[in-house]
Amino acid sequence: MNNLHGILFAYHCNPRLRELTEHRTTSSIPFGGRYRIIDFMLSSYVNAGITDVGVILHESYQSLLDHLGSGKNWDLSRIRGGLKILPPFAYAKKRDGGKFRGEMEALAGVYTYLQQIHQDYVILGTGDLVANLPVGDIFKAHLDSGADITAVCVRPPVGEPEYTTYFSIGPNGLVSDVSCGGGNSLPYESLDVYILSKSLLLSLTDYCASHNLYGFSKDVLQNMGGTLSISPYIFQGYAARIQSSAAYYAKSMELFSPKVRSSLFHADHPIRTKVRSDPSTYYGPEAKPRNCLAADGCIIEGEVENSILFRGVRIEKDVRVKNCILLQDTVIRSGAILNCVIADKDVVINQGRMLMGHDSYPLVLAKDSVI
């Protein structure tokens, strides 16, 4: 039985994601044609043999509840353990419904759950990370290192500096300096994925709760860095943080790189997601798809280029779609022309409409819009 328990922070709603987080948390934003962002971390956990996962939520989580369901799609529907949804009930009463100020406060909000974890180690992960992490290897490295905390990091910067934590690594191979929330002066970037023992996690949560401290990076890694040994695990594969709609657009477009795709998708460690029974995607006699990622269940009868199509998208004849991301069940009626548009679920673009964004500022159409 696996000795590692998974925790996922899925309560963030980054305001810079604009319309995409109006009805959902960052972690439940659709990504990559058929996934939600949370699928990447959740699958990384499951593929490492983790059987028990707690997902910490705060608000706007109906969409995430619908997506995760009982956890069946990740084989986490169990009587004992499996997937547990952790809304902030106890916490909401205490702080009168306010938002979590940071990870440690979120952990304090589910303290009873943490106490009942029966694994000896816990992995903390964030719901805005797109990566297929080798969690089994990271866990092994943690056990081998003997460090208090293992922090997963990457060399080339991927996140937006104001939300990101950076490390430098000392001659002993451990993290020697931590900076957060400011400029990027240190060479390694944290992916906010950490492994530590259950007992350390509980005592850190206790300490932070009683000292009004709330951030893992700032209050634990940075302030307690002197007393804790932090071992870095340098991840070599592809990683992306989704913290703004510009990043969402840019990272989505990176999926056209074969290198990025082969790092994210491999048969032995598949990214699992909620299954919907869709037929194959149909390309009509006049369809002109070029450089497209498409989920199943679409009907494409027009021209589509450099675009990502989610399940059930309809593109009628004489349509020209270029550099777009069209989420589930978007309908583009005949004659419409779109460039650099992100259309949220169930958007309808009527006949002959023309919509143009720019790749540095894509036009985001809110869910259910009819244009």
Binding site: S277, S280, T281, Y282, P289, R290, A295
Partner: protein
């Protein structure tokens, strides 16, 4: 453990499908991939769930392993139930005696009467695992109840000139069947049996026991049980179905039915989500259409990568069509790879087949004498070497000596 059910379904899925040759050498016919995402059995299974029938026995015998692992606990069809759900029923080996394959369709049900009795049903649907159609069985059941028949048989009106190819039901004014003729030379009606039976369980039980006791019987529904019921004067009603229905028992009909799926707004209407066809979806990334690809009038599925030209074809998951390759009027089952410059036309490529660089598989009917033409089939795992040619109508079960594999 079980709760009474008004109606349960028994799905005959033991068919070897020998006319599908290379495609069924490793899997039972109902497990043959179909229509881009499905296996044939998905159609009757989805019909059951959509009709509110939550208890289904699947009778297997030939190559049951892949079929039973495909069905698993029935989760993709919402049939992972505490009470009811889907159950795989292989032939049963009784204490001391030797087990054999089911002697006929009726014997298959006879051997599983114990299973049926657990649910104490009023009605039992008997379905085939090799037809492509969408049907609301609850309407058939309502018809059966209204007609107070012992058995109701679903029938399809076929063109009179084709009627002699089918089992034909001759009916009276109220659509009660008075005669059944298998492939009659001079058909009296154009109502063809679809192989879908709704029985009142008490009657079915009685006739199955009698049929089993009759040494002259071949233990088949169409050949024995229905005639026995007719001659005993039982009421047998015909239920007229209209809509898409296709038997996919031969290579040509399988190819044809796949081509029908390309007509997305007619036929079986796959995209109509008021009556979804459920299937076990593989865990695959979205399909990638390369910048040089040309695709028209075709189905493409997740996990596939298309860089070449695809026309009038059905591509299953994890297919790879390399730059410069051309696919026409063909069916590429999961994992098929067509290398650059190769041409595949009027062909069925089974799972994990490979067509090497510049090879040519199949041919168009207008370039071939009619008597030589036919759909080309590559069996599962067959590899055609680069530059090789596989003629029309050919059926390769294994990679030839000069195969790449």
């Amino acid at each position: 453990m079980h709760m009474k059910k008004e109606c349960i379904a028994m799905l005959l899925a033991g068919g070897q499908g020998s006319r599908l040759c290379a495609l069924t050498s490793k899997v039972a016919k109902p497990a043959v991939p179909f229509g881009g995402k499905y296996r044939i059995i998905d159609f009757p299974l989805s019909n059951c769930v959509n009709s509110g029938i939550d208890t289904v026995g699947v009778l297997t015998q030939y190559q049951p392993l892949e079929l039973s692992s495909y069905i698993g606990i029935g989760q993709p069809w919402d049939l992972d139930r505490t009470l009811g759900g889907v159950h795989i029923l292989p032939p049963y080996v009784r204490e001391g005696s030797k087990g054999t394959w089911y002697k006929g369709t009726a014997n298959a049900i006879y051997q599983n009467m114990g299973f049926i009795a657990q649910f104490d049903p009023d009605y039992v649907l008997v379905l085939s695992g090799d037809h492509i159609y969408k049907m609301d069985y609850s309407v058939l059941l309502a018809h059966h109840k209204r007609s107070k028949a012992a058995c109701t048989i679903s029938v399809l009106e076929v063109p009179m000139e084709e009627a002699s190819r089918f089992g034909i039901m001759n009916v009276d004014k109220e659509d009660f069947i008075y005669e059944f003729e298998e492939k009659p030379k001079k058909p009296k009606s154009n109502l063809a049996s679809m192989g879908i039976y709704c029985f009142t369980w008490k009657k079915l039980r009685q006739y199955l026991i009698a049929d089993e006791a009759n040494p002259a019987s071949s233990n088949d529904f169409g050949g024995d049980v229905i005639p026995a019921m007719l001659s005993a004067g039982e009421k047998i009603s015909a239920y007229r179905f209209s809509g898409y229905w296709k038997d996919v028992g031969t290579i040509v009909s399988l190819w044809d039915a796949n081509m029908d799926m390309l007509s997305v707004r007619s036929g079986v209407r796959l995209y109509d989500d008021t009556w979804p066809v459920y299937c076990r979806t593989p865990t695959m990334p979205p399909q990638l259409i390369g910048s040089g690809a040309v695709i028209s009038h075709s189905l493409v599925t997740c996990g596939s990568e298309v860089y070449g030209k695809v026309e009038n074809s059905v591509l299953f998951h994890s297919v790879r069509v390399e730059p410069g390759a051309e696919i026409r009027y063909s069916i590429l089952m999961p994992g098929a790879v067509v290398e650059s410059g190769a041409v595949v036309e009027y062909a069925i490529l089974a799972e994990n087949t490979k067509v090497g660089t510049g090879a040519h598989v199949g041919a168009s009917p207008d370039q071939t004498p009619a008597e030589d033409w036919g759909v080309t089939v590559l069996g599962s795992g067959v590899a055609v070497p680069g530059g090789g040619t596989v003629p029309p109508k050919a059926m390769l079960e294994q990679t030839e000596k000069e195969g790449i594999r």
